[in-house]
């Protein structure tokens, strides 16, 4: 298996974003995933979100674990550095990278096996620390890459392709992320690009630990009747709490909705989120209510999607550590080395 580079030819008529980049500039190599894999739709949504946000492609660091989902960073942002690390440990690698250079945008990509099984510990701790990142779990309820074993997000009672019924309780990463202190929490569905793209945009703009659980059916091993992560099942049980529009800083708010159904959320970078509430009256800033809402609906077999929680005043790890504004990886001898005179003083104190 080799990766095929996409032709770099740019059609002159391709639409450009504010930085003059086209869609192509946010793409990677051609995907080698199964045709129809949900993960490819998430890749497309990431490309779209970065294009729309006019992010300089090389200012993103893409970090993943191991799995089909973790392979996807090769398929987007070809001009970004990427790091396909080890199974379940993306969060620690991302944390270290983030500490080294606070000026890049960190995109963590993981799978449900990667995050909820082998990597549950690192998933939890990276959120506790408030690392400024967008952490996306491409959740298909199975281990795609190792051919279809249940993962820890598979629902109890759901059936594998071979007809085996899962007897273990499932882990709801969204509920955990809320409990662990993630400052932006959302769930979406790879099949709902209209919902997913703005959520990714909002998560990237968020200055703190943003967690996204994206249900992403595995067409090879988990798209059959009896699965609760199939396209059909998710469409039937999707309970969206809101729709989102991301309004860049300074741009006027043009979204126009019925009175009372619109909530404007200011982000730290000046951008605003216009949330259209659907159905239930849902307060985006209430962590506890979000948890209750989630549990009530999941008890009814519904899959709640949308932006579920935003902390308006997120505190990220660099703020907690009071690190300097300049990236640590840019500091030189002059900044870091106390020199021989200081060492003499130290020597003198040790006699």
């Amino acid at each position: 298996m080799t990766y095929i580079a996409k032709p770099k030819f740019h059609h002159p008529g391709l639409p450009k974003n504010a930085l003059g980049y086209t869609h192509r500039d946010y793409e990677g190599t051609i995907s080698t995933l199964c045709a129809g894999c949900g993960h490819d739709s998430i890749t497309a949504a990431i490309i779209e979100a970065c294009f729309e946000l006019s992010i300089e492609p090389h200012r993103v660091a893409k970090i993943s674990g191991i799995g089909c989902s973790s392979k996807t960073p090769t398929y987007f942002l070809g001009n970004s550095h990427g790091f396909n690390s080890v199974h379940g440990r993306m969060p620690s690698v991302l944390t270290g990278a983030n500490l080294a250079n606070r000026d890049l945008i960190y995109l963590g990509v993981s799978g449900d096996g990667d995050s909820a099984s082998i990597g549950l510990g690192q998933f939890a701790h990276v959120l506790r620390r408030g690392v400024n990142m967008t952490y996306i779990v491409e959740n298909n309820g199975v281990y795609g890459l190792t051919k279809g074993q249940f993962s820890a997000t598979a629902d109890r009672g759901s059936k594998s392709k071979r007809g085996v019924v899962n007897t273990d309780n499932s882990i709801d990463l969204v509920a955990m992320a809320l409990q662990l202190g993630a400052t932006f929490v959302a769930r979406s569905f790879s099949g709902d690009k209209a919902q997913l793209v703005p959520i990714i945009k909002a998560a990237i703009e968020h200055d703190g630990a943003a967690f996204l659980d994206v249900i992403s059916p595995c067409v090879a091993f988990n798209n059959h009747a009896g699965s609760t992560k199939s396209f059909d099942y998710v469409r039937e049980h999707n309970e969206a709490v809101n729709r989102l529009d991301v309004i860049p800083a300074r741009a006027p708010i043009t979204v126009d909705y019925a009175e009372g159904s619109l909530q404007i959320v200011e982000q730290h970078d000046g951008s605003r989120l216009a949330l259209r509430k659907i159905g239930a009256d849902y307060d985006i800033h209430d962590r506890t209510a979000a948890l209750g809402f989630l549990q009530r609906h999941s008890a009814k077999g519904q899959i709640v999607t949308g932006v579920l929680f935003i902390d308006g005043e997120p505190v990220d790890l660099h703020a907690s550590l009071r690190t300097v504004d300049r990236p640590l990886n840019s500091l030189t001898e002059a900044d870091l080395c106390p020199g021989s005179a200081a060492l003499e003083t130290i020597n003198a104190s040790l006699r």
Partner: protein
């Protein structure tokens, strides 16, 4: 059998037997420092259990005008403050030695020995007469025995008073009461005992400008000077104090005018995470390290293979302790040589540095970051508990202000812009070391995908045989390059020609030096080589070739360094004679000289025989 009490000046071992958590540590340390301030070298060692409170601890001070800083073995003067271990402690005293105990409650004669001098000081009675607060009683009792010792051993009192002043600087209220307690003990001894004893201290000038520092603290300072900005660690004895020291040093030395930190320290959730953070930071161009011990190394294996294969710089300070498993967590060994040299699955090899003392821990600590960047691979600094957690007298730390950090082969935005060819795994100079770029360098050039999976010279994923082998061979070339970058072995030839050599490393150093003198005294000449790094420099092979037999002295059961030499240098194992000490106590000159001497006697070589060459 020696007749009568030991009579020696500036050459003896004092051991304090205490109860963990009784606050004895600072009094004991003051004892050692006071002797050092008298110009007499000391070598103290903590012997402590893996518990916080209640269990026995010992603090041993070797007073050695001759400057033998290795453990000696045996105790000449026991300060027996722990009833629980009293019998064992009394039994441990050398014939003719001394016992100081708390005589407040009379003990039956059966508790003592005839061949030692028993010194009873009613410490509890003196303390209780003076103090009523239980905590004060406990703490001042330690200073009171220090006072008694000062009289018995003829120590310099102003030196101790000065030390008390330094100890409580900023908490000046405590200075007076401590000095008072010191004199309570001292006066009691002067009035009631024959002072000084035949075993005592005398001012000398053998300390010079040397400093007194723990290896972990020195290594952490090395990390500060070496430009480390990211530290991720998980607590484990005996390495925790390295991360603690880095935290302390950084708070003093690395905070900018706005009070902001030019460093980031994370106490991770486990060692997998700490090494993951180090690798993430190293990948992103920061100098990063972790500090751990054997069990942590085991957990880091998968990530270490990734760092080797994906070529990511990082530093691991491994402060070794006795294994396997939890083993003896507070005892020393050199037992992770193999598990670090070949850490991880598949064909992996890593660079190891073996500092002998805190001064070298500082040097190698700083140097390891240059090596990591230059070689783009993890570097292990192999300390052990004996160096890491004990104060050791060593040469002062030194730094050359003209020294620039070697960030290795990093391609810049300007070079990329100018059209310089970039292939992440391209061996441009034939040294096996490719260029890398930091993430975010250039909008369209120089990005690459890092993975633990096989790839070609341009970092493109491939599972084809050719590129895989090409890459694995390049990694070997890089390891060859490392041989000339790491600290060279040091050779000390015996003045006489000899067919025997000895190889040793790390904390064995002072005991080895002392043993050479003992062996020479027995008529045995030996050439010495101190190995300071892996991969081995070519001089290791030639040193072995130059001798019929080479003893390899190490502190583990399985002769790990010897295996590594046999394996990497293609040496006939018969030529390497293992000398192994692995009971958890630091190796001693007596042990080395005994073991090597026995072998040499067995070889039935006339010790002074001349070799025609």
């Amino acid at each position: 059998m020696p007749s009568g009490p030991i009579s020696r000046v500036n050459d003896f071992v004092v051991r304090f037997a205490n109860v963990n958590g009784s606050g004895s540590a600072s009094a004991n340390e003051m004892f050692a420092r006071a002797i050092m301030r008298m110009g007499v070298p000391v070598s103290p060692r903590n012997i402590f259990p893996s518990n916080i409170q209640g269990l026995p601890t010992w603090y041993e001070v070797r007073v050695t005008e001759d400057g033998h800083l290795g453990a000696r073995g045996g105790v000449d003067f026991m300060v027996a403050m722990n009833p629980q271990t009293f019998d064992k402690d009394v039994a441990a005293i050398e014939p003719g030695g001394y016992l100081l105990y708390d005589s407040t409650k009379p003990l039956p004669a059966s508790k003592f020995r005839d061949d030692i001098t028993v010194i009873g000081v009613p410490l509890t009675a003196i303390t209780n007469r003076e103090y009523s607060d239980p905590r004060q009683r406990q703490l001042f009792k330690n200073i009171i025995y220090l006072g008694a010792l000062s009289a018995l051993l003829d120590m310099d009192v102003p030196a101790i008073e000065k030390l008390i002043g330094e100890q409580y600087r900023g908490k000046d209220k405590l200075i007076g009461p401590n000095v008072h307690a010191l004199h309570l003990g001292r006066d009691w001894a002067l009035q009631n005992l024959k002072c000084p004893l035949p075993i005592r201290v005398q001012k000398a000038d053998k300390v010079g400008d040397r400093i007194f520092i723990e290896g972990n603290s020195a290594a952490a300072l090395g990390a500060v000077y070496g430009g480390a900005t990211v530290c991720a660690w998980y607590p484990i004895t005996p390495s925790s104090s390295l991360a603690d020291a880095f935290t302390r040093h950084c708070a003093k030395l690395r905070v900018d005018a706005d009070g902001k930190a030019k460093y980031a320290i994370i106490q991770a959730e486990d060692e997998l995470s700490s090494i993951g953070m180090v690798i993430g930071a190293g990948w992103n161009g920061a100098r990063a390290f972790t500090a751990t011990s054997g069990p942590g190394i085991s957990l880091m294996q998968e990530f270490l293979g990734l760092a080797y294969f994906a070529e990511i710089p990082g530093v691991v300070f491994n402060v070794q302790r006795a294994g396997p498993s939890t083993g003896m967590p507070t005892r020393t060994q050199q037992c992770d040589i193999i598990s670090c040299a070949y850490a991880s699955h598949g064909d992996t090899k890593h660079v190891l540095l073996f500092p002998e003392d805190p001064a070298e821990a500082f040097d190698f600590g700083a140097m390891s970051f240059d090596l990591a960047d230059r070689l783009q691979t993890p570097i292990f600094v192999m300390l052990d508990l004996d160096i890491g957690m004990n104060h050791r007298l060593c040469r002062p730390l030194a730094w050359d202000d003209s020294r620039a950090y070697d960030r290795g082969k990093v391609m810049t935005a300007a070079e990329l812009e100018a059209g310089k060819e970039f292939g992440r795994y391209l061996d441009v100079h034939g040294d096996g070391i490719p260029y890398r770029t930091y993430p975010g360098t250039h909008p369209t050039k120089g990005s690459f995908f890092t993975r633990g999976t096989s790839r070609d010279r341009y970092a493109k994923y491939t599972e084809e045989a050719g590129p895989y082998v090409d890459n694995m061979q390049r990694l070997l070339r890089k390891f060859e390059t490392a041989k000339d970058l790491v600290p060279r072995p040091l050779i000390a030839n015996s003045g006489k020609s000899t067919r025997y050599g000895v190889i040793y490393f790390g904390s064995t150093s002072p005991a080895m030096d002392e043993a050479i003198g003992m062996l020479e005294g027995r008529g045995h000449a030996l050439d010495r080589m101190r190995v300071r790094a892996f991969p081995f420099h070519s001089s290791v092979t030639s040193f072995i070739a130059d001798h019929d037999f080479v003893f390899v002295v190490e502190q583990n059961r399985d002769a790990q360094l010897r295996s590594l030499i046999v394996n990497e240098c293609g040496i006939d194992p018969v030529r390497l004679v293992p000398i192994l000490h692995y009971d958890g106590t630091p190796i001693t000159a007596r042990f080395i000289a005994g073991a090597i001497g026995e072998h040499l006697d067995k070889f039935k070589i006339a010790p002074k025989r001349k070799v025609a060459s």
